[in-house]
Symmetry: C2
Subunit: 206 residues, 2 copies
DNA sequence: TGACAATGTTACCGATCGGTACGTATACGG
DNA sequence: CCGTATACGTACCGATCGGTAACATTGTCA
């Protein structure tokens, strides 16, 4: 299924960047670092060195530009996720821990701003906003995969464990940008490890 | 230490609400439900049935009004937290679980919008923003208390457990507004229970 | 009743918001 | 050399942003 925006600026490389590509690259950077609502289209086109009509020729609206930014972010996210999965074939526990170890490290880097999609959900509570739709789809799929991995691990309550891992992940995204280096997000992999092992033990209490 | 805003509209009741009080009440509702950046001062004063100079005589700026909203939110938060603590004297495990059980329930209610302070951090990445300062102070104190409670429980890695609980809490705030009813936030207390019990067992692995 | 302080109101400010009508430059095929 | 299509820029739109100057109203206490 094709993108909503008319052009895919990251299609092939080798050419000098077209206006649409420069715009999306700048928008990705500014939207992520400052927030979508905080950045105006004027600032985007000024930074990209283009003009406003160029933006609106490639993207129907600012909201759709934001959605394109998040679709890009979504692809990057799954690339990172699948990389961790591919590093430990057939071992979902190691897959999750590898992913969370890298998340934990990223959260400690200066200027970390959390998950672009999570942030977009906070910025846009309206359920039909283009940016939110992309984010919600990503999170639903993440939840589905985490639950499946928890089941594959043999957890006694796979849905609980999958959801618990998602809570830890989202908590790491937020805590990372809230506390910076040395914050709670540093422990996300270790806490996931504890939670997983506790869930693999027999039924637990009543 | 007194508030930054000139007036405390929730000081005593029994009088017909002054403009400042009406403004703050409306701002609390709109800022929480829609987000701070999404709401303009015109909409606030219009909804409150007052005019703009009334706002700016009681609050130095919109940013400071947002900070006042968050200070109010901070007080409500600690009231809820201390209520759970007081319900289980000397039993930090039960205190945490009581608090998280209520958090989990709140996240399932329609229109749930997460934690106002967490949302403000996402909306304002600048570290010197008045709204962010209030939120960061709240979160630092929460982290401190969670770690202290983890230590009081006798956790083998108290800082790890305290931080893990904070990750679960922040994850519940986000997931609650992201997934709505039936989302992962429902399991926050159960996952905290698993994590706590795993952390109370002996050292774990290397 | 008169003076003062607190509060509310009308009307306005420059800046920025997202978005667009319309003209211009460049590349390419005939 | 011309016609056409594609890509980009100039100049502008009404609406809304956060914030304010100047004036009117009210309550209180002497």
């Amino acid at each position: 299924m094709p993108d909503t925006n008319k052009i895919d600026p990251a299609a092939e490389t080798g050419h000098e960047p077209r206006a649409a590509e420069k715009i999306l690259n700048v928008a990705r950077d500014l939207f992520y670092r400052q927030g979508i609502r905080a950045i105006g289209v004027d600032e985007i086109v000024r930074t990209a060195g283009v003009t406003k009509p160029s933006l609106y020729r490639s993207f129907p609206s600012k909201d759709e530009l934001a959605a394109s930014y998040l679709r890009y972010y979504d692809r990057e996210f799954w690339a990172r996720f699948d990389e961790a999965v591919a590093a430990h074939p057939g071992d979902p526990r190691a897959q999750i821990l590898a992913f969370l170890t890298r998340v934990g490290k990223r959260t400690q880097k200066p200027g970390y701003r959390g998950c672009g999609m999570t942030n977009a959900v906070v910025e846009y509570p309206e359920h039909d906003h283009p940016a939110r739709l992309v984010s919600e789809e990503n999170k639903r799929e993440l939840r589905r995969r985490l639950r499946a991995m928890a089941k594959a691990m043999g957890a006694s309550e796979p849905d609980t464990l999958g959801d618990g891992l998602l809570l830890l992940i989202e908590g790491a995204y937020i805590s990372g940008q809230l506390f910076g280096a040395g914050g709670p997000a540093r422990t996300v992999a270790r806490n996931a490890e504890l939670l997983i092992d506790a869930s693999l033990a027999k039924p637990g209490r009543a």
